[in-house]
């Protein structure tokens, strides 16, 4: 117990980093993912081509590599970001690509008739998207979106590679200093708690959306 209290401050400070990366990524990647998914349906070939290239790169290379590239690679090219900002940028552009694919599937499953009905009633394209299409897309994508959110909780641990102190790194330091596995157990427990919270929130959202079909 005493050992636990001893570890707590460093774990909490690591947790703060983990949660920071998590929340900023969620906030940034959802709107970007929606925009990208809409771009995939663009009538301009160049836009579709660019977006497909972007998604290919983001999904085709390890996030770890992307983190290194954004922080060190861009830094060498004279575009340098502080570590935390670099991590957020890498996470947002990576997760937006995955979310865009999910949203694209959701968009495709909204029937043409919904757009027709909206047009005949005089809705603008923007109103149609936000009032009619998006709510239906959200319901469809919640389960796959949830998977990505849970992946994100764990992926945040990759930020160690650019020298950020997240919770896993805090545990790592304590474990090698005190030659014990207990910090790892604690870190694992904290990840489990975080994913449990996310799971419960997602289940509730699904349930709330299940009032209509």
């Amino acid at each position: 117990m005493n050992y636990f209290l001893e570890l707590l401050p460093s774990l909490l400070s690591g947790l703060k980093m983990t949660l920071g990366v998590f929340f900023f990524t969620i906030i940034g990647s959802i709107p970007l993912g929606i925009i990208v998914s809409l771009g995939m349906k663009s009538e301009y070939f160049t836009i579709r081509w660019l977006i497909n290239g972007y998604i290919w790169i983001m999904r085709g290379t390890p996030l770890l590599l992307q983190l290194i590239f954004v922080y060190y690679g861009l830094g060498m090219m004279g575009i340098s970001f502080p570590r935390f900002e670099a991590a957020i940028i890498a996470f947002i552009i990576n997760y937006a690509a995955y979310l865009a694919e999910i949203f694209r599937g959701g968009l495709q499953s909204v029937p043409r008739g919904q757009y027709d009905a909206a047009k005949v009633l005089g809705f603008t394209k923007i109103q149609t998207f936000f009032k009619i299409v998006l709510p239906q897309v959200i319901k469809i994508v919640v389960p796959s979106f949830g998977n990505e959110v849970i992946n994100l909780v764990k992926d945040t641990s990759l930020v160690y590679v650019i020298g950020l102190g997240d919770i896993l790194r805090a545990g790592n330091i304590a474990a090698s200093r005190d030659v014990t596995l207990i910090p790892y157990l604690l870190v694992g427990l904290i990840y489990l708690i975080m994913t449990a919270i996310v799971t419960v929130l997602l289940r509730r959202t699904e349930k709330r959306l299940n009032i209509w079909r």
Binding site: P111, G122, Q127, I132
Partner: protein
């Protein structure tokens, strides 16, 4: 009055119809009959602005309506064959969504207006249900209410009796008559000759009167 002059529609080099002329008077109920795949639905989709025509003129109450896909108005209400209700809204919300967002009407006023319309259609006790909780006939009445609340100058139905049982078909006929008494101009696409004869003032035989 709706006036269609020399309307022509081609699709992938196939002529769907050519030089179609049709006039519908105010308050008239006109049924357009003919076999499936002949272009009846295409015609009302052009009138509602969902499809483009290749040539011809459509005039509604002496205002020319573009047929090139640039329409954004709700002058022609359309009751789709599969209704296309918004599944994520209750019946009442389906109906008030356009008045609130398109016509910028106050929500309370929109609700009052919607309730009075669904009352006429016998759907008041279904106002808080979602579309998946409704039968086919009820969905159709919800769709009719949703179109009517925008006060269209013409209400067009695409195959309103397909998939309905006899009782629901009678109900549709009643609704058409009720709306006729209120002066609503109605255009009914159907392959049900019998239904057409009962409800309409005039039957337009698409296969006989339209060149292809």
């Amino acid at each position: 009055m709706l006036e269609i002059k020399k309307l022509t529609k081609t699709y992938n080099n196939n002529t769907i119809f050519r030089d179609l002329d049709l006039t519908v008077s105010d308050g008239e109920v006109l049924s357009i009959v003919g076999p499936s795949g002949i272009g009846k639905t295409t015609l009302i989709k052009i009138l509602a602005g969902l499809e483009t025509a290749d040539a011809g003129k459509v005039t509604l109450n002496s205002e020319q309506l573009p047929v090139d896909g640039t329409r954004t108005d709700a002058k022609v209400g359309l009751i789709f064959q599969d209704f296309n209700l918004f599944p994520n809204y209750t019946v009442l919300d389906n109906i008030i969504l356009a008045p609130i967002n398109v016509n910028k009407i106050d929500k309370a006023a929109a609700k009052d207006q919607a309730r009075s319309i669904i009352d006429t259609l016998g759907m008041l006790n279904k106002a808080e249900l979602y579309p998946f909780q409704l039968s086919g006939g009820q969905k159709q009445r919800a769709a009719i209410a949703r179109a009517l609340v925008m006060d269209p100058q013409i209400l067009a139905y695409d195959e309103p009796t397909s998939g309905l049982d006899e009782a629901s078909t009678k109900q549709v006929a009643e609704i058409v008559k009720t709306l006729k008494h209120r002066g609503v101009t109605q255009l009914i696409i159907t392959h049900d000759q019998f239904f057409a004869e009962i409800v309409s003032d005039r039957v337009f035989d698409f296969s006989k009167e339209v060149a292809r």
